[in-house]
Symmetry: C2
Subunit: 597 residues, 2 copies
């Protein structure tokens, strides 16, 4: 079999020459960015050919790559099918991502579902050969034992500790183990997975960890992953499930090692996630989420054995999945709404989680109405020509003046791309200095005097205008296409915002608060949000940042059965409005595309 | 790696030279008889070395093998550790076994646990994006759906068929599938597994299959298999479970192909088995069964998802395991007692299942008392020098007169060994013609005249006397050791019989009926059973043969929820007497060893 050698890596990949290079790399756990999921659209899966031959360059590659790139050996890995031994260089590096784990939390009482109690199990004798199960049932005063408890445990007499989930016996342990009672709260995002290890006796958060969702190899957004499932009906469900379960297992290991506890003492895991991630986690068919009328397989909370989906903790560990409302209002949003106590608020309050999808929940005196806006990944730095996630080397803020362009870069490094907050700041500045018009188009270069400080910032690529954010070497541009992506995202969210208010018959001045949730929202200063009109100018002083309320909700549910019930109730009460099906939405969306309030 | 070539087999076994030849062969699914489980005791695991070298012959081999065998290259595979390429010949052949599947069955009403019903599931719309689970719950009038049903099924709307186990929804199928409703009844014996495919709509037995329990490679009796578990704590539980589950899957395939039905339409499997086999089936620790005070991990009935232990049928298939009474009164005996309706009988009735263990149940006006006798495998043709199971070529009956020895051979072939019924008949004849005394010893040859027809039948091997059943070539002997094995089995069962009567305070003449159950019992004519005193002379005309009542009980439970309840009740009611703990048992046993009533 031919081999792929990778610069700076010892091991080569042996391959059967029938698939494209991107697939071969991803299958071997070598990450190459691929926002369009290998469809030959985004031009991001670049690698450099160092030795050996690849098929001749295609028209698509010529269109998506620059001349200098082509001449330096850059190819798009999804568009080439290697046939022989080659040596390549991987151009992207996985970097440490900045992920927020802290956030706002209301006061509540601890009543976790998991508890432990000590029992004495009578030893059998020749005269009384009582089966182990019967001796246990006797001691615990129960009728029957789950057969899997018998399978998971050796026969053990004398002192034992019973582990209970509510009234139900879920574990038996030799001796007295009442001191060790841990749980985990997990937020599974499409992009990021965050987990906290919790001492369930005290409520203390012992350690937190975060990881990039490894399902990214099957697509960056939920729709691409669902499409991956449709295209690979045989094993996609398993692959997607294994990817996330493995990630959770890895985090369990990391957290237990940090906190110096045994993974067998984790008894409950509570998960908040969007509806698609929840389907993938449980290995449940998510296809129907991807097509109209967008009815998911399930939205209800699920309470299952963690082991049943391959999670490695205690034999007894329970997995509680928070409830969703609909295909695009997931448990992450329900958890967030709960954390913000939207259902108990007087007046009108808005909750927004900005990410690939923007989800908005409006509370009018506790009545909840939600909608979801397909913002696209631009606000997370994806589908942007120089875009990247909020990792080291990413431009996160931009100021433009006649002194030039001032860039703020994560890690204070040489910039290698621009992340969501950076692109927003840049577009805001381009609007401010008048290089981009309200309709989103760049102005014509000939309208500027050569002496204008903005003159050199604008350049032409053929007939396409682009803004030079950073000059060569390592040129970074903001293209007309990039501005359009931001514009689409802004239009989607702003139109959702207005549609929801209209549906609830609420005027802008009746709005008391706008809560910004989520990983990404926390990186966006109010001036950027209202500056380009993702949110209307009027709400600028009403913004509150609540952090990762999805994980916080999972933590609260872990620590209280009462919270679980209230969250389930909240999910049932929350109304959902399908924007696409609401009257006059298309017109509203078009109006909201304009860069003005 | 060196290789083992096997005569008449194409593929060679590659091996790491660190284990004995028996282990290497068994691991590669090549069956070599090994009643003592590779302990170097029984002398049965013979192979012939054709090419290459094995370590020099050991003292144990010299003792267990005849000189002619040694000179013709025969070795005991458990006693040699090969180091190089060798070619060997396997001497035993797996033959078609005679297994009984029919038997007595009382009348009962059909009320199976499984039923099907048709529903209409409302399709979602953009205005009503109800999750699939919620639409299902609505249509079925239930609160919640098992998450695994969501995992196992694709989202499907319109007409569906709900599969119910009692009230519980266990499956959903697209369209109307009410016509296909099948189940299986299985009897898992230590030696033999028998299964019947049943049309649960009519109660008709569509096909039956039987198979040798593949766990035999880990030992022929339950204790050896439990010991194997102790010696291989890492993976024995899995191996034993996989062996039986694979056998069941194989039988499902065979039965479905015979009856031309889809394995996905099998919804319930009911299993009867002895207590140890039931532990192995569920992958539950059976260690405690093997040591005093013989308390098993469980005896209660179990109702689980068949898929959870790897059985391949419908996603929804339930597995119901009948209840046991104690470590050595298993669900097979409980099922048999139920089939014989012992709990409803007036007067005194005895039920005996003769096998490696002899189990006896006494009913006094419906009160049930049981005991188990460690008969050993002699009555099944094991641990007998020329012994074999009831397969083609086995002597199954023997008549001795002054005309000579008349042998009845299964399949009318040249005899190659003697099975259980044959060894019993032979010992009975040896007693009758006076070659064996009541104490079990052969008479001295010098006591016979040379003209006596019996004179040539007796021969000496050193100081040991033996009976020549068949002369060379292919000499078959009954040794003094063989007679002792039969004597031990007889003593065990007869003493159990008496102990039980004594405990219940019942006289022999108060006994109305003795029911003989099981595979092996059905092969034993009354004259053999009472002829050597396994049972007392007085019961000869009270014997009734009930066939494989274990499988029949499984069938009845499959076809009726009521029967399941009654069997569970019966198991709770049945008393158990541990012979070893009962007073005066040792003396009784010694007395029962005598070949006289």
């Amino acid at each position: 079999m031919p081999k792929i050698f990778i610069k700076n890596k010892k091991e080569a990949i042996e391959y059967i020459p029938d698939r494209d290079l991107l697939q071969l790399l991803l299958e071997n756990d070598i990450f190459v960015d691929n926002p369009c999921n290998g469809k030959g659209l985004c031009g991001k899966c670049k690698i450099r050919l160092l030795e050996g031959n690849l098929p001749a360059i295609s028209a698509t590659e010529e269109r998506l790559l620059k001349k200098e790139e082509i001449s330096s050996g850059i190819r798009l890995s999804c568009l080439v099918v290697p046939q022989e031994d080659i040596t390549i260089e991987i151009l992207q590096k996985e970097r440490k991502h900045e992920i927020l784990t802290k956030g706002y939390i209301p006061e509540f009482d601890f009543h976790p579902a998991i508890s432990k109690e000590i029992y004495e199990i009578e030893k059998p004798t020749l005269e009384n050969q009582k089966a182990f199960e019967d001796a246990l049932c006797n001691a615990l005063g129960i009728e029957e034992l789950d057969w899997q408890l018998l399978q998971k445990n050796e026969v053990t007499y004398g002192q034992i500790t019973g582990v209970f989930h509510g009234e139900e016996l879920i574990g038996i342990e030799a001796g007295d183990t009442t001191d060790t009672l841990y749980g985990m709260a997990i937020d599974i995002g499409t992009t990021t997975v965050v987990a906290a290890l919790v001492n369930m006796k005290t409520g203390e958060e012992l350690a937190t960890a975060s990881i990039i969702n490894p399902q990214k190899r099957y697509g960056l957004d939920v729709l691409t992953r669902i499409t991956y499932g449709l295209e690979n009906p045989k094993d996609a469900k398993e692959k997607l499930q294994h990817a996330i379960v493995n990630a959770i297992n890895q985090m369990i290991g990391e957290l237990c090692s940090k906190a110096k506890i045994d993974r067998n003492n984790i008894y409950e895991i509570v998960v908040a996630a969007n509806c698609t991630m929840m389907h993938f986690l449980l290995g449940i068919d998510a296809t129907s989420i991807g097509k109209s009328p967008y009815a998911p397989a399930f939205v209800k909370a699920k309470n299952i054995s963690a082991m049943d989906i391959g999670i490695k903790a205690a034999a007894a560990t329970r997995l509680y999945c928070l409830p969703s409302v609909s295909a695009y209002i997931g448990a992450d949003i329900v958890a967030g709404a709960y954390v913000c106590q939207l259902h108990k608020k007087e007046g009108n309050h808005l909750f927004i989680d900005i990410g690939t999808n923007g989800e908005i929940v409006l509370s009018s005196d506790g009545r909840l109405l939600s909608c979801s806006c397909a913002a696209g990944p631009a606000l997370e730095g994806m589908n942007i020509s120089s875009g990247m996630r909020a990792a080291e080397g990413a431009i996160e803020d931009v100021k433009i003046s006649d002194d030039g362009i001032e860039l703020k870069v994560i890690g204070n490094l040489e910039p290698i791309g621009i992340c969501g907050s950076g692109i927003l700041a840049a577009v805001k500045e381009l609007l401010r200095i008048g290089l981009v018009k309200k309709d989103g188009g760049f102005i014509k270069k000939e309208k500027l005097e050569e002496s204008d400080y903005r003159y050199d910032m604008l350049q032409l690529d053929g007939i396409k205008r682009e803004f030079v954010l950073k000059k060569s070497p390592g040129e970074l541009l903001i293209t007309q296409g990039d501005v359009r992506q931001v514009q689409l995202a802004k239009g989607a969210i702003l139109s959702g915002f207005y549609a929801l208010l209209k549906q609830a018959n609420i005027q802008m001045n009746q709005l008391h608060q706008v809560m910004i949730a989520g990983q990404f929202g926390a990186h966006l200063p109010a001036e950027s949000l209202v500056g380009i009109g993702i949110l209307p100018q009027e709400v600028e002083d009403k913004l509150v940042y609540v952090g990762n309320s999805s994980k916080t909700g999972a933590y609260m549910a872990l620590m209280s059965t009462e919270v679980k019930k209230e969250i389930e109730e909240l999910a049932k009460q929350m109304g959902y409005m399908e924007l696409g099906a609401s009257e006059g939405y298309e017109r509203l969306f078009t109006r909201c595309l304009l860069f003005s309030n």
